[in-house]
Symmetry: C2
Subunit: 190 residues, 2 copies
Amino acid sequence: MIRELIEKNRTYRRFYQDVEVSQETLRELIDLARLSSTGGNLQSLKFFLSQTHETNTLIFKTLKWAGYFKDWDGPEEGEKPSAYVVVLHDQRISKGFFWDQGIAVQSILLGATEKGLGGCQFNSVDRVTLAQVLTLPDHFEILTVIAIGKPKEVVVIEELSESGNIKYWRDQQGIHHVPKRALDDLIFNL
Amino acid sequence: MIRELIEKNRTYRRFYQDVEVSQETLRELIDLARLSSTGGNLQSLKFFLSQTHETNTLIFKTLKWAGYFKDWDGPEEGEKPSAYVVVLHDQRISKGFFWDQGIAVQSILLGATEKGLGGCQFNSVDRVTLAQVLTLPDHFEILTVIAIGKPKEVVVIEELSESGNIKYWRDQQGIHHVPKRALDDLIFNL
């Protein structure tokens, strides 16, 4: 069951933009992050929610999409995400945030997947501009942005080829392929 | 469903040590991490598996348990974890590892929870000693250790009190209490 959900929880970059994601849905997803483990139980992550056209547009402009696709600038109008979660570290609470970002994002995206949604986590974010347009107080550090919407693409896991090239690719039918290393290549024992 | 699993996936520190965790079970859990998202799809994490008395003993000695319990050195014989996963970053693949650690560990522990197991992620690890006793090659950086076993304690989520103290505590019945911030304290909008 969790395996099924994890397999289905792929990174999606094109969405049915007209399918709205409600504030209540986003709150339910953040509640999953809230209930998840945090280092030292410090709970220093905060979450900025966006699901209006206005803030979605502001956030979209600060993102760079799909690093390996040099000739694609991101989804066109009509295929953009319906919502975003900006994950913040509240520096008033703690200096560091351990491994909390990954855990929180995984909980949020597994919850989204269960609801028939999907998303994408960004590292390439213009954080300076985003903090300005969202008028975030100085004590918030922007860790990542999660785009959320109803996926409008198919993503398939592939075996890694002998070349070892881990770059994902999109085929002529628009299907997105993601090569994964084999289990035996990840595991060690004494 | 995922919410139920996330609620059940607490940090456990005492286990039924006589309940073994098989190599096959550990492999199934690592497969969940393998199928999860990684930054840039680099997949630079590797996993050292332990479920024998010998390597479990070596690993146990390098861990510090429950930072907030100053008078508790960790579980006694009979209540120790039955297995461990040492999460490694393969520095031959990439310099950094984005948010991969948290995502992988969350997938592994959600899978463990579904199997009636539970665990604990450690930051307080004597990494130098652990690398030596496991004879890890230099290109592996130890990120964290996950202890896994059949939980022998009850963990309860509590509302954060007005004092804002996030330290967990154990009551006279041995029940472990974890205060969590309220949802509205984690969320922002424009």
